[in-house]
């Protein structure tokens, strides 16, 4: 399982990369592996306001539908529009080209270190 140490994670399998007050958000390698072939990603519009812990989008594989939860609260400042055409990027590069949204952080959520997230995944298995 690919688990970059510099990122933060949620119990619901999202990751967060912080740069200043902007957080880039996606789903983890473990999450994409559990889902299987991702074929559809539904994301909010730029300008939408997210509350930490609430669902902000949906990712669908051939077989399953899964909600995505906001790791932090804030305003959506950028959306990865390329996922509309190429949702498979979520499988191929979950921490890179498969990123989903960027949020200007206005409130914090409950975030885990890589080591703590790894324990969450191990407990599930």
């Amino acid at each position: 399982m690919n688990l970059p140490q510099e990122l933060q994670y949620t119990r619901s399998h999202e990751w967060v990369r912080r740069e200043g007050d902007v957080a880039t958000i996606g789903i983890t390698d473990h999450a994409q592996d559990e889902l299987g072939d991702v074929v559809f990603v539904e994301l909010p519009e730029v300008g939408a306001t997210l509350e930490a812990g609430n669902t902000f989008g949906t990712v669908e594989s051939v077989k399953a539908v899964s909600d995505i939860y906001a790791p932090v609260g804030g305003e959506v400042v950028e959306v990865n529009g390329s996922l509309e055409e190429s949702p498979e990027k979520v499988n191929e590069d979950p921490y890179g080209e498969g990123w989903m949204i960027k949020v200007r952080i206005s409130s914090e959520g409950e975030l885990l270190s890589a080591a703590d997230y790894e324990k969450v995944v191990e407990e599930e298995e």
């Binding site: 299987g36 072939d37 559809f40 539904e42 669908e60 594989s61 051939v62 077989k63 539908v65 509309e84």
Partner: protein, 363 residues
């Protein structure tokens, strides 16, 4: 209901799935492979080459004795007196009111009838079969554990299977089967399937299944899981019990009237109700559709027309072959060209299309 549902059942191929790194899921109380490499890759392998499925969770009910044919005739919608020995037929089993107990494959053998039933319905079916044939001289045996069932499906299926059997496969027609004995593989070889491709379903003794499984893979078959099985059958417009068919849905409504012989004598259970429904008009009907907006329709999503709920999606996915969101829906009979599917409180337009979504090129 059945006890011991907590411990999942395993097929004789369980260790093979594990060693191939399959993702296992609980399906109708069975621990089954949902995928190996990925659903889309496995789906394509079946459409373009050959895929190999473990469907040993399916049940086998055997009807034997002097009244075996009378018993099967009473229970299934197809007139099985028209089946030759060595021929199989798709049929439904109905309640008196026409609702569906199960959809099955009836194999007419020289000595008995073998009826393949859905795993989720095994206990219910056996009870129904026995309850309704008590006055007849027939034994209804649950021999599900005596068979491991493999499906080898795809344009290369025949070529792969021919390496292992003397049976003259090119002359085995669709929905015909033979018992292969002698040298080579010992199995019932049936030219049937649930993918829309040419292919075979093979009934092995449990002890012979793993060897055959490995041989077919070495010969070029791609192991494929229940995920691909579902997308393949959906593209082929085939029903899945629990989705398109259930106790509240008749076979006529689900669009499988080709498997229902309403003129059958003696009558099957539910025949009168189905005849009445045909005369007075269907209460609902199964349609195929393509989603025209953004989104994927899924099982259970509401279907609306002019803001009114007129049905629901029974199965839906993104079709790996067509690259579009497709689905089946049970809708009010007056629905013709299109409707909206409610995807997470968003209304997405959909257009009805003729079934199947995918038809193979016959050579």
């Amino acid at each position: 209901m059945a006890a011991a549902k907590d411990t999942p059942r395993r097929t004789p191929l369980y260790e093979e799935h594990r060693s191939l790194g399959a993702k296992m899921v609980d399906f109708a109380g069975w621990e089954m492979p949902v995928q190996y490499e990925g659903i889309q890759a496995e789906h394509r392998a079946v459409r373009e080459r050959a895929g190999l499925f473990d469907v040993s969770h399916m049940g086998e009910a055997i009807f034997r004795g002097p009244d075996a044919e009378r018993a099967v005739q009473r229970l299934v919608t197809r007139d099985v007196s028209r089946l030759d020995v060595g021929q199989a037929g798709y049929a439904a089993v109905c309640y008196e009111n026409g609702g569906t107990v199960d959809d099955v494959l009836v194999y007419r053998r020289a000595e008995d009838f073998l009826v393949v039933i859905n795993a989720a319905n095994r206990e219910k079916d056996l009870e129904y079969f026995r309850e309704n044939t008590q006055d007849l001289d027939v034994e209804v045996a649950d021999e599900s554990d005596f068979y491991a069932l493999l499906a080898l499906q795809g344009p290369r299926a025949q070529e792969i299977l021919q390496n292992f059997t003397e049976v003259d496969l090119p002359n085995l027609k669709y929905y015909r089967f033979v018992e292969a004995t002698g040298d080579g593989l010992r199995a019932i070889i049936s030219r049937t399937g649930y993918t829309g491709e040419d292919g075979f379903e093979l009934f092995f003794r449990p002890d012979d299944a793993a060897g055959a499984w490995r041989s077919f893979i070495e010969a070029g078959a791609t192991p494929a899981g229940l995920g691909a099985r579902d997308t393949l059958r959906l593209e082929a417009g085939m029903c899945l019990y629990g989705n398109e068919l259930d106790a509240q849905t008749t076979p006529l409504e689900a669009g499988i009237s080709f498997a229902v012989h309403l003129d059958k004598e003696p009558e099957f259970i539910g025949q009168e109700a189905l005849r009445r429904e045909k005369e007075t008009g269907l209460r609902k009907k199964l349609v195929g559709f393509k989603v025209e907006g953004r989104g994927i329709a899924r099982h259970g999503y509401p279907v609306q027309s002019d803001g009114e709920t007129v049905g629901h999606v029974t199965s839906g996915t993104r079709s790996p072959t067509l690259g579009e969101a497709i689905g089946l829906a049970l809708v009010a009979p007056e629905i013709e060209e299109g409707f909206e599917v409610v995807v997470r409180s968003r209304s997405v337009p959909a257009r009805t299309v003729p079934l199947p979504f995918y038809r193979r090129e016959r050579r």
